[in-house]
């Protein structure tokens, strides 16, 4: 059943949004927004009858009536507030977004020839041709209600362009902070264009200083041209009463290489849709994920890898550690099109249950239309290994420490795949602290 009250709410917010835009309402972008709003109004939020949302009930999000934020305000924020989220001062170019809007005052710029790093809002004017060519061309507006809603309220986000054969020396950190005591909806929209032969590391992190529940509904599109290399690391550490919907799309061309590491720690409900389209030969795509959940948290990872052309490889490792009464969902789609001979696709999904009440639904979904391919998938769900525990204890390690050690080892398998040393060390410490804190809360 369609939930109409929420549709009316966002329609009325959209009317206000339009009024706030003044002259912009005739632009190409706004036509896109209007189209998206129509899509959303036609669909409404998904229900559990929708196969794609069977195990993730978004009714709490639909009911909440979040308010989109139209203007930037950095009121009351100090640099020290931001510094908490900079991974110990990671050496990088950093764009800071407050409630979805670029905060120039907190952002750092490290100009490099051939590299454009800007807010999407200004790029719409300064790089209109590029933006119009790529924005919303890969993540379909009507993919689901959340992408439609996010697109309808596109306001700002990050725009990164790396020119041909340019290698970005430092990582680019896109830091999204939600703050304040209002139930806000933020829809960051990011567009990253890596031209042929270029190389970049992009780190996205979603964190909170907010005292009220909120909705982050972010969309990030990557255009990865021929021979380009992208490492993407994402940390989702929203507040525990908030909601995070994150859509990421990699559009890959011939011989390009993408590594994506997605870490989920926060949010009451988190849903990630990560898609890689391998639209050329010789492409390599690696999607890794680690989710930690406890209490009543719900974390859902939907991945899709689309092998459209021959001789491509994809590797996927998704792991979850679930404690308390938390719920995990994993759905991993791999499409191998008729043309995509010699595809090598491997998917692994492992869940560690730390309590008897935590549950997981995992579903590999392989659709293979080519005949000369190598596709493997495996899913395991289990508790800590008793034999490993006994081995540790027989060497003097206490039971709790043995549990922590083994749990941490399970997690570091993913963290170790982050290539940026300083970031990996920071994530390591965070996960360690989180696991120990989780233990103290739960037992």
């Amino acid at each position: 059943m369609k939930e109409t009250k929420s549709i009316e709410w966002y329609k009325s917010r959209f009317d206000l949004f339009e009024k706030s835009l003044n002259g912009e309402s005739k632009s190409e972008l706004h036509a896109l927004r209007k189209q998206a709003m129509q899509k959303f109004a036609g669909m409404g939020f998904p229900s559990s009858h929708d196969e794609e949302w069977r195990f993730t009930n978004v009714l709490p999000i639909a009911k909440m009536e979040f308010t989109p934020v139209f203007e930037y305000s950095g009121k009351g924020l100090r640099q020290a507030d931001i510094d908490k989220f900079t991974f110990g001062g990671l050496h990088c170019t950093r764009l800071v977004f407050i409630n979805g809007h670029l905060a120039d005052e907190f952002s750092t710029h490290d100009p490099q020839p051939g590299v454009t790093i800007a807010g999407l809002r200004s790029a719409i004017n300064s790089h209109s041709e590029l933006v119009n060519r790529h924005l919303a061309k890969y993540v379909k507006i009507g993919e689901n209600a959340f992408t439609a809603l996010s697109t309808a309220f596109i306001h700002d986000g990050a725009f990164v362009h790396v020119a041909k054969n340019t290698e970005i020396t430092n990582p680019i950190h896109l830091l999204f902070i939600v703050t304040g005591d209002q139930k806000v909806a933020v829809s960051p929209r990011n567009l990253i264009v890596a031209e042929p032969g270029s190389k970049a590391s992009i780190v996205e992190s979603y964190v909170s200083l907010a005292s009220a529940p909120y909705l982050t509904n972010a969309v990030t599109e990557f255009v990865v041209d021929e021979n380009a290399t992208i490492e993407h690391d994402k940390l989702q550490d929203e507040s525990l009463d908030s909601y995070h919907i994150g859509t990421i799309h990699f559009q890959q061309s011939r011989n390009s290489n993408v590594v994506s590491n997605a870490i989920n720690l926060g949010a009451a409900i988190a849903r990630n849709n990560i898609t890689a389209v391998l639209n050329g030969e010789g492409i390599e795509s690696t999607l890794n994920g680690l989710s930690l959940a406890t209490g009543t948290q719900h974390v859902d990872n939907h991945t899709a890898i689309d092998h459209a052309k021959p001789h491509c490889a994809s590797h996927e490792l998704y792991k979850s550690i679930l404690d308390g009464k938390s719920k995990g969902v994993f759905n991993g789609k791999i499409f191998v099109r008729k043309d995509a001979q010699k595809t090598d696709a491997k998917q692994t999904n492992k869940t560690l249950l730390l309590s008897d009440e935590a549950t997981v639904n995992t579903k590999p979904q392989l659709e293979i239309f080519a005949d000369d391919v190598k596709c493997t998938h495996g899913a395991t769900v289990g508790h800590l290994d008793e034999e490993q525990k006994f081995y540790l204890r027989s060497r003097g390690v206490g039971e709790e420490e043995a549990n922590d050690l083994l749990t941490f080892a399970f997690a570091s398998d993913v963290i170790n795949r982050v290539h940026i040393d300083a970031l990996r060390e920071q994530l390591d410490m965070m996960i360690h602290a989180r696991l120990q804190r989780g233990r103290m809360l739960e037992r």
Binding site: Q388, L392, S394, R395, G396, G398, E399, E401, L406, A409
Partner: protein, 252 residues
């Protein structure tokens, strides 16, 4: 050091050990030999505190304390060490980290200062020579991708680092080629002292050519049916286990 009195133990309700009596003093090496399924590994597991085994009767005193009352980690901290028949792989935990966690837990228990990374490494490098272990194995995940010989050497290496008072070697010779066997045996011999004791659990006499026991006990059907000196091992090698069984049955 160790006194086992009338020990009975079961797995899933089936009694495997039917009343074992054994006394081990400091400085001694005891070999427990027996055919497959005689309860050798069960006995080693009970001493180390494996919880799949249920002790239904009897007593084990270790340095005057009730061993069966202690958790596996307490036993380790009190100086009991089990060299596993099948050393366990722990992906994601390096050998160094694993050993340091164990050693420091034991040192803490003994009121010794905890070792920092530098001191630990110095200690470890010294002990590695004992079992001719390659240093590259230190930073690899525990036993992951190790050959059979490397795993067994790793056990003796751990023993060297943790300096136990009572070591129980469970089928340490199984799966070893002759060179590896010699290296492992050399390690054990070098660690031997007047203060510590060793129990070697084995099916074959082979290892006892290198580690000479003071006492040999024959375990058949969950009971020690014969005890003697090192010559008993040779007799077993020559004549197998059947004659002991027959002799026992004749007595009964």
């Amino acid at each position: 050091m160790l006194e086992v009195r009338n020990l009975h133990a079961s797995v899933n309700g089936n009694e495997i050990l039917h009343g074992i009596n054994l006394k081990v003093n400091a400085g001694e090496i005891h070999a427990i030999m027996g055919p497959n399924g005689s309860g050798k590994s069960t006995f080693a597991g009970v001493l180390a505190g494996r919880d799949a085994y249920e002790v239904t009767e009897g007593q084990v005193l270790y340095q005057g304390k009730d061993l069966l009352d202690m958790q596996p980690e307490e036993r380790a901290r009190e100086g009991v060490f089990l060299a596993f028949q099948y050393p366990v792989e722990i992906p994601g935990v390096t050998n160094t980290y694993f050993l340091k966690a164990g050693l420091n837990a034991i040192r803490k228990h003994r009121g010794l200062e905890l070792l920092d990374a530098v001191d630990f490494l110095a200690l470890v490098k010294d002990k590695m020579k004992l079992v001719e272990m390659d240093q590259s194995l230190l930073n690899r995940p525990v036993n992951e991708g190790f050959s059979g010989g490397e795993k067994k050497r790793n056990e003796i290496f751990q023993m060297a680092v943790l300096e136990p008072k009572l070591s129980i070697l469970d089928e340490t010779d199984s799966g070893l080629d002759i060179d590896a066997l010699r290296i492992v045996a050399d390690g054990v011999n070098k660690l031997r002292s007047k203060e510590n004791a060793t129990i070697i659990v084995t099916h074959y006499q082979r290892l006892l050519n290198y580690i000479v026991p003071d006492f040999v006990h024959v375990l058949v059907d969950g009971k020690i049916v014969k005890s003697g000196g090192k010559e008993l091992a040779l007799l077993l090698e020559e004549r197998g286990y059947d004659w002991v069984r027959e002799e026992t049955e004749a007595v009964a």
